[in-house]
Symmetry: D3
Subunit: 155 residues, 6 copies
């Protein structure tokens, strides 16, 4: 019976995860499962199937909490994931702005700023925001050093 | 005119802070103001008067966010403050339990445990929870060492 | 069948947890279960029953990792719990000293110091360490202020 | 009168921010204001206009503190911003090196290393540092995988 | 020759540490050395003897940095130690208040509050601050529960 | 005599560092030394020469601890460095997967996910892992916005 029980939890978790994280979540799932299946089993079964499926809080509120934890804790990748999740469960830009400003109070302005960058990327991704054209300021970065920097960034 | 403007913000912030943090908040305010008034001016004017008074999110949701940040970030003193705040704005024990379990997923079980201790203290404080009697286990702590430990704890 | 499956995982988790955390863990379990049973269900089923029971790493190594995370992450309560866990699974004082010194390198000396205080408390608790007598330095703390301070500490 | 009062604080804050963060700060301001103006109102009015304009500490010392918090807290984007700020208020490379080494002691070597990368980027940006040529080590990264990695990095 | 070399560094570090942390630092040193001498060897030789003795920053500025890291990083024990250190190297209360307010901006108000409590304890310890009398508010804490709570706090 | 003593420690540390971090570590060393030699002196002499050379724990266990601290503490650059270190000292993929899953329990799933990305990059780097082909999902990112985003990412 273990298999069936696990499957139900897995299916429930997978469905909720899909609805929450969308296509980008699927891409992550495929990558992690390719490395080792158990790396996705627990996020799907325990996080989404057990905890986030509990009825005590609605999904939008849960995503708001997760996003607060991600921005406040400086886990930038999750900021994008759960901005998607929050929007996918009915959250609004207005609420995101309020969250960001409140985080400035409780975790400091740098976390607010970093969170804003992540949230903006999701709005760009969805075609809901177009960043202003950069100022004609060619002095800021000399030559084509950006490439060497990018290459170095993850050593 | 500056004085008047400031007063309005201060009064608005102070009222919201009082409603949120209750008597323990007043005790803290008196202590910090006695040390230096500006240490309370910004929490009252900026945090409560400016940010937390913004209409975009209701007070209960804001306290839920703050509590998530406090538990996830390990700022234990604020766990108690904002458990009071969450309850004072209509939050329930059931929601707190959901928050704790969700924090286990996103910040790890140790943060959930630490948050639970803080929340329990507030429920005891209000006479809403009575801890179980300790087991008759005299071997755990030899003699009266606890005092020396307590004294050492903040050196 | 769910109940049975859950029971097996719960029993396995509970047994491992008991062996790891000892009497103090039981005291914590009783407190948290009195507040809400689910607060212990997931630590027992998921943390101990699922993850920590996996065969890929031995229990002593797992406790070493947990202790590193607790000291490095500043979750002081868990330092004590998992010092007990590490010793209960065969770890030694010598290894703890090495862990502490290595943490100074990777998380900074303050984390090493805080971790040392927690570890020392467990050694005192077991009668394996006796702190040196305090120096006759009565000037350090004026009068009996320590009580008011302690009272204030968790407001 | 509110508008005028706000303007003065805003103008003072904006001037100090401009002097501190320079052109890159302006670019950030334009982006965040385009997303929502309040995301810049508080950093300018409260952070720069209120707090950082207080006379009790000079601007160079304030930037040193901010940089310590950014490196110690792992907020990498702010490392670059406030390295610029520290240099713009008269700080020196020598002092930055001392700060980095001291951070190794109190926050661990990984934070020192991460901070060094951020500081170096600002020195490159200003043409004050030229990184050594990479060693002829073609085995390190096979083929052109870096692109797929970069694409994945922010999912 | 090793011994001599080590001694010089140790003596230099120990002297600076003594001047910085004072009597409370000696008490800590005796405790940690009693547990294992190497736990003090590196703080004295490397932290104080090597790094903090470097001439590039004066001792007062170094203590300001350390205090910023301690408050911003939430290592409460070190807040007290390095408040003493900052004052012992000529720092003032006014500068501490500015540091606290700036930390609110960059690490959030909860860190400012926690830091304030630690700093206040040192001022009390030195007889430089007397907390206001508690308000006559007997309802806040029912009966003598504080003892059981204190006992539970470090399980 | 100082010079000789230092050299021995430096040589021992440098050898261990080389064996641990490999070519990427050499690239980092060259960059940091070019900026300021002392930025590498302490990591080599103190971290590798003093602490990591202590006999009390084997190198593989030490790298496991460091990796736990890096993933749990969110210092992503070090995840890659010490994944290399762990593998270079005989660690296995199986143990890394166990470490990741255990970190989900104690530091939360987001840290597990971030750690997995870093570890995967090292496996790709060594030709030991090939990520699955991306799904044909062209809607996810409109046009060539990724460049502007990348450019913005480190402002």
């Amino acid at each position: 019976m273990v298999a069936t029980v696990r499957s139900q939890k897995f299916i429930r978790g997978n469905n909720l995860r899909r609805k929450t994280l969308g296509e980008a979540g699927e891409e992550r799932r495929r990558l992690l499962e390719a490395f080792h299946p158990d790396l996705m089993r627990y996020p799907i079964e325990f996080a989404f199937g057990d905890v986030l499926s509990r009825p005590g809080l609605d999904h939008k509120t849960r995503e708001l909490i997760t996003l607060a934890l991600a921005i406040g804790g400086g886990v930038e990748r999750e900021v994008k994931s759960h901005t998607r999740g929050f929007l996918n469960h009915g959250g609004t830009k207005k609420e995101l702005v309020e969250l960001l400003i409140q985080i400035a109070v409780y975790s400091g302005f740098p976390r607010m700023i970093a969170g804003t960058y992540g949230i903006i990327e999701v709005f760009e991704e969805r075609g809901l925001f177009k960043p202003p054209k950069p100022l004609p300021a060619p002095k800021l970065k000399p030559k084509s050093k950006s490439k060497s920097k990018a290459g170095r960034a993850h050593k």
